[in-house]
């Protein structure tokens, strides 16, 4: 196998098995491609049993994406014909996916519960339970509980923490979303998007301390990617909000004049960066006008 070949090359060469490997390794979701090349690969007599089993599994999952339940059922039958035991964990997980796709979420949940009784750390079963709940209207509390259960067993899974952050944001709980985004940040400290996500949550919650944190994260995002316009605008908004909050602060709140000056400079800096980014575009006038409002406001 040419390990450097890209997907286009493999498709052009009709290297069906390696197209499927490429999709798996790069975690690409292209069910039509997977089904097409999977069905072609299965016609090859030279395939080993291990490879054939993996292809049936991959085609089954792709078929579910295309809502081709007939093809998915055929793949399940073929797996059984090839000697896969119906008690096999991997087979039951695939069966669970088929049940979910057909709408039998109760049956799927029961199957995953059985798997979890056998092995409480079965992360795939925990994830699927969460996905079932997330797909149902009015199950917000149970969804969070299911994701928490997964995270208790998989504390360092950044994708799960990212999922938790978005879930909390959907529920309007930006404070808890910040906590989850901070966990994502531990695994991705140089990802500007994560810094911006945290900063936007801090800005939304508001208050002097949170706005100071927001400024820092927007600045960090710009340190990592100076052209990130979302961070540029965000910095202007957060820094401006800090200045406003400071001017409206009660006498009991200690306001650091130096921090207020820093915030004013950050408004000007963010505004300059945003205007520079839009030079030569149709939105320049609108951006200039808006940034002028912010900079005039902090003079």
């Amino acid at each position: 196998m040419d390990t450097d070949a890209d997907l286009e090359t493999l498709v052009a060469q009709k290297d069906h098995v390696n197209v499927l490997r490429y999709l798996r390794v790069h975690q690409l979701r292209d069910p039509s491609l997977a089904v097409h090349h999977g069905q072609a690969a299965l016609k090859q007599r030279s395939l080993s049993d291990v490879t054939r089993l993996a292809i049936y599994e991959q085609v089954a999952l792709a078929a579910l994406d295309l809502q081709d339940h007939t093809l998915a059922d055929e793949c399940l039958s073929k797996l059984r014909e090839m000697g896969v035991e119906k008690e096999s964990v991997r087979f039951r997980l695939l069966l669970g996916r088929c049940l979910e796709a057909s709408g039998d979420t109760t049956g799927a949940s029961q199957l995953y519960d059985t798997l979890l009784k056998e092995n409480p750390a079965n992360s795939v079963a925990l994830k699927r339970k969460y996905c079932i709940l997330k797909s149902q209207v009015g199950q917000e509390i149970a969804t969070v509980a299911a994701l928490n259960e997964y995270l208790q067993n998989n504390y360092s899974d950044p994708a799960a923490w990212s999922e938790m952050a978005k879930l909390r944001m959907e529920q309007g709980d930006f404070a808890k979303a910040i906590y989850a985004w901070e966990e994502v940040l531990l695994s991705a400290p140089t990802d500007p998007f994560v810094h911006v996500s945290i900063a936007e949550c801090y800005t939304t919650v508001g208050g002097l301390d949170n706005l100071e944190q927001a400024r820092k994260h927007f600045c960090q995002a710009l340190e990592l990617d100076a052209s990130y316009r979302r961070a540029q605008f965000g910095l202007v908004v957060a820094a401006n909000a800090y200045v406003e909050a400071a001017s409206n602060a009660s006498k009991k709140q200690l306001v650091d004049d130096f921090e207020v000056q820093v915030a004013k400079e950050l408004v000007k800096f963010g505004a300059e960066q945003a205007i520079q980014a839009y030079k030569g575009t149709s939105m320049l006038a609108s951006v200039q006008s808006l940034m002028q409002e912010y900079t005039e406001g902090v003079k």
Binding site: E170, E200, G206, F233, G234, V237, L290
Partner: protein
Amino acid sequence: MTKQSIQKVSVEPSALLIVTQHAASHPYEAIHGLLVGPMAGVVQNAIPVCHGTPTRPLVETAMGLIHNKTIVGWYTAPALLHDTKAGPVALRMAANLETKDLEPVLLVLQNAKLVACRNGEGNVDKLLEAFGKDDLGGQWVRPLECTVQDASSAIEQMKTSNPPTIHDFVDHLEGSASTPWVTL
């Protein structure tokens, strides 16, 4: 002049199309946007703001970039096909748009009805559910009568097999500075 509580909403087909195309461009997430018009209760156009959850920097910047237009409300479409209600963030957004002169409207796109309309199986009746401010709780949960102007032409345009992709403000920010954003 005392602000009057709105009783009904009129929606131009251009606004409806942007809302439906915005939802179609981001089928796996909730979508949110601003509504503009000449006065409260009249929705002339829609400005797509984000997919996912709106945050203060996004909304404040988007609103700041819209010039000389009256913001008359907020629209949303839930992430799940069979979810018919606005989430807590959309309710909060509608409340935050209220001014001393204007009561905004909250429009919630009904996803299952949209699918039916695009398949030629339904009409635009109840495609958008409109809500005004409830006097008791102050939440945007008071149902309003919602009329789509020139509904038949809106349906015909929705049935097109290749609807244009709508870039909201988040798409614009995450793309290049030239990525078009649907504005006025």
